[in-house]
């Protein structure tokens, strides 16, 4: 282990940020030192000017580019529309919506088994790992002896949630996901932001993950 460690460091040319440590398991995982210069200008005048510059540039683009683009293309139609959309900085929400990245963390959902039952086995890993203490689970005994345990109550307070995604990381059976790409809804009362088991399952779909992972497991059908 130690020899490969040394090899990785010597092979890496000494440029870029200073490498403090490299994982012995994966050389791509490393601790680097990030040099942050002292903030000399505490009035932020330069930064303000830069920011204003960006705003003005966007304003100019919004004002001028669409017409120019269409004229430059000289053909109109779909292609012009695409160009128009790509160039302009302002999004006409809610008619027009930004496509979120694939890994955007939206509202939670609870995944389902093939028969539509909740996949969660109330192992309490997500409330344990949750830094905001926003998950409440009350376990109960399942009527199915091969499942044993299931949540009687599963509540997530979306106002408390800090959208860190650790619950999804902690889940051992693909029962909770944050891939809905939905925002937390605006609410008038705080309690309305508490998602219960039914609403979380309402967004859920049947998971294709193998319960217990792949390969022969203790619950293989004989």
């Amino acid at each position: 282990m130690s020899s490969s460690h040394a090899h990785d460091e010597s092979a890496e040319p000494q440029k870029g940020p200073k490498v403090l440590a490299v994982s012995p398991k994966n050389p791509n995982v490393r601790t680097i030192q990030v040099v942050r210069p002292e903030n000399a200008d505490t009035t932020f005048l330069a930064a303000t000017a830069t920011g204003l510059g960006i705003t003005i540039r966007h304003f100019g683009k919004n004002l001028l580019l669409p017409r120019k683009s269409v004229e430059a293309l000289g053909q109109g139609g779909a292609a012009a529309h695409v160009r128009f959309k790509n160039d302009i900085e302002t999004i006409q929400y809610p008619e027009e919506k930004v496509q979120y990245p694939e890994r955007y963390r939206g509202l939670h959902r609870l995944m389902l088994r093939d028969d539509g039952a909740v996949r969660c086995v109330a192992c309490m890993c997500c409330p344990t790992v949750c830094p905001a203490h926003c998950i409440t689970i009350v376990p109960e005994e399942s009527s199915d002896p091969s499942i044993e345990k299931r949540p009687a109550v599963f509540e997530i307070d979306e106002l408390r949630c800090v959208v860190c995604g650790l619950c999804v990381e902690a889940c051992p059976c693909d029962a909770i996901r944050m891939d809905t790409a939905e925002h937390a809804k605006p609410v008038e009362e705080r309690w309305e932001a508490v998602e219960n088991k039914a609403s979380l399952m309402g967004r859920g779909i049947r998971s294709t993950a193998t319960q217990g992972g792949e390969g022969p497991t203790w619950r293989d059908k004989k």
Binding site: K149, G215, W218, D220
Partner: protein, 532 residues
């Protein structure tokens, strides 16, 4: 040999473990000898409170001059023995034993109640931490088998260590569990015609190194790693078993025995374990006057007013000490009774249950502190009347007012009805029995919520620690006594249970020499390693 080493007494044996020399008493096994050096040899079937089976082979070590590896739990120490616990041969053997143990274990930790305090889980991370190399299906057995009124068995999780069988045989003294079949089809179950229904049945859950045996009472309620443990003393009977309160969110979730060779070794009875339920039932959380919630100020004013009238003729005042309350509470009230010059002092206690007594841990006296109250009364020169005496005094009209500590009186229904007619001032944690009829009821902390001491049947003074704060307006019992004393013009200077205790050790000879044990910080079970 021992003559040549005068430093070691003749009953001590000196041996070398991993290059360190250690002297242990003759008859100790190698595993225990290693533990005295801080070397924890992994083991499943070995339990210090049980006989030795050496069937898990998880504690193999190399002992020089032995041709093969030896189970350290079964090898008695010998003079000059040289043991290696960390050499490649024995380390590999233990790692491979663990791999064999895991062959048929359903790695269902997410739904297993033992997860977080499981010996198998801990040893896996300590020793092996490798992926399974087994590609054949696991042997399937029955899940969620009902063994009796208290315990559920998962046969697949069982690693066949036989600890539970030995607990039933050696602690409870009944053979109710048994292994059947052979090889990897070996299965734990109840003995033919038997149910796991002995009064010590839940000890099998404690000793189970995996999650095969789970308590119905605790199953699926809470994960072990979420709980905190505070040491205390069982209030179920006069034995005073040492226990840990496992609590979370200001609520006790289970009671687990704590090792004490002088009292309960590693064990505890089922009744004692269920006493935690009482901490949330029928609690008196607010001071009441005439059965209605009122608050401390009004309750004390009312009590002071009534007591002032009665104290003009103090022989008609009765005071009831409680065998269910701590020494501090009783000492404070006894001192107050002396200051008042109360005419009659009684002992309030739960009625004895002779059928529950055995020669192990269960006592017929279901009060935790009978010995302590008697010692305090004797030292202060007070004569304690029994429940029958109280009944007689009430019926004869000899007492016009009674100050009662606790809710247990051991009197008949008729006497309770008579008590409702006279002035009863109750200092109690639960609203039941005489407290329901009290003219004034002052709420106090129950045993899991206070710092104090109780004296068990052997005269051992044991310390209870507060696991969580008392509900509502409740305060420690001695403090309620101090407030009540203030309402009648008697001043006590105690500000902490420690000061009451210190005062008490000076006056009560049974307690002299005892020192106040420092408050225990709750231990978070997520850092406690394995249990069982």
């Amino acid at each position: 040999m021992s003559e040549s080493t005068p430093a070691a007494p003749s009953n001590m044996v000196t041996l070398t473990i991993d290059g360190q020399t250690v002297a242990v008493p003759k008859g100790t096994n190698v595993l225990e000898a290693a533990r005295t050096l801080g070397t924890d040899i992994s083991a499943f079937c070995y339990h210090p409170g049980l006989s030795i089976a050496a069937c898990c082979r998880q504690c193999l070590v190399s002992i020089e001059k032995n041709p093969k590896l030896q189970p350290s739990c079964q090898s008695a120490v010998a003079e000059g023995m040289v043991v290696h616990t960390k050499d490649p041969q024995s380390t590999l053997a233990r790692k491979q034993m663990l791999e064999f143990t895991l062959v048929n274990h359903p790695i269902d930790c997410p739904i297993c109640d033992k997860a977080g305090e499981c010996t198998l889980q801990k040893l896996y991370f300590d020793h092996d931490n490798a992926n399974s190399r087994v590609d054949t299906p696991k042997v399937h057995k029955d899940k969620a088998v009902d063994l009796g009124p208290t315990v559920v068995l998962d046969q697949e999780r069982c690693i066949l260590c036989t600890r539970c069988i030995r607990v039933c045989d050696e602690v409870a003294g009944v053979h109710q569990l048994e292994m059947s079949q052979r090889g990897d089809h070996e299965t734990l179950g109840t003995a033919p015609g038997a149910k796991l229904d002995n009064p010590y049945s839940l000890n099998v859950v404690d000793v189970c190194p995996v999650g095969a045996l789970t308590a119905k009472d605790f199953r699926f309620t809470m994960r072990a790693w979420e709980l905190e443990a505070t040491p205390s003393i069982c209030q179920g009977c006069a034995t005073g078993c040492n226990l840990e309160i496992h609590h979370k969110n200001e609520r006790a979730w289970r009671l687990i025995p704590r090792h004490n060779d002088d009292v309960n070794q590693y064990w505890m009875c089922d009744d004692g374990r269920f006493t935690y339920r009482d901490l949330r039932e029928e609690r008196l959380a607010v001071a009441t006057v005439g059965g209605l919630p009122s608050g401390w100020d009004r309750a004390l004013a009312r009590a002071g007013e009534r007591l002032a009238a009665v104290l003009k003729q103090s022989s008609s005042l009765g005071v009831v000490l409680s065998a269910t309350h701590s020494n501090e509470d009783n000492f404070a009230l006894a001192m107050l009774a002396k200051a008042w010059g109360a005419g009659r002092i009684f002992l309030g206690a739960r009625a004895a249950v002779p059928e529950r007594a055995d020669d192990k841990l269960r006592d017929a006296d279901v009060n935790p502190n009978t010995a302590g109250v008697n010692a305090i009364a004797k030292a202060l020169g007070l004569t304690l009347g029994s429940g029958a005496d109280l009944e007689e005094a009430v019926n004869a009209g000899a007492v016009h007012a009674v100050v009662v500590l606790g809710d247990a009186l051991n009197v008949s229904e008729q006497a309770l009805a008579r008590l409702a007619e006279i002035e009863v001032i109750a200092i109690a944690s639960h609203e039941r029995g005489v407290v329901k009829q009290a003219k004034v009821a002052l709420p106090v902390a129950a045993w899991a919520e206070l710092a104090g001491t109780v004296t068990n049947r052997k005269g051992l003074v044991q310390r209870m620690h507060a696991a969580f704060p008392p509900p509502g307006q409740a305060i420690p019992g001695w403090e309620a006594v101090v407030r009540l004393a203030g309402a009648t013009g008697v001043k006590f200077s105690w500000t902490h249970a420690r000061e009451v205790f210190k005062d008490m050790t000076g006056k009560v000879s049974e307690l002299s020499g005892h020192t106040w044990v420092r408050e225990a910080r709750p231990l978070q079970l997520r850092f406690a390693g394995s249990r069982g």
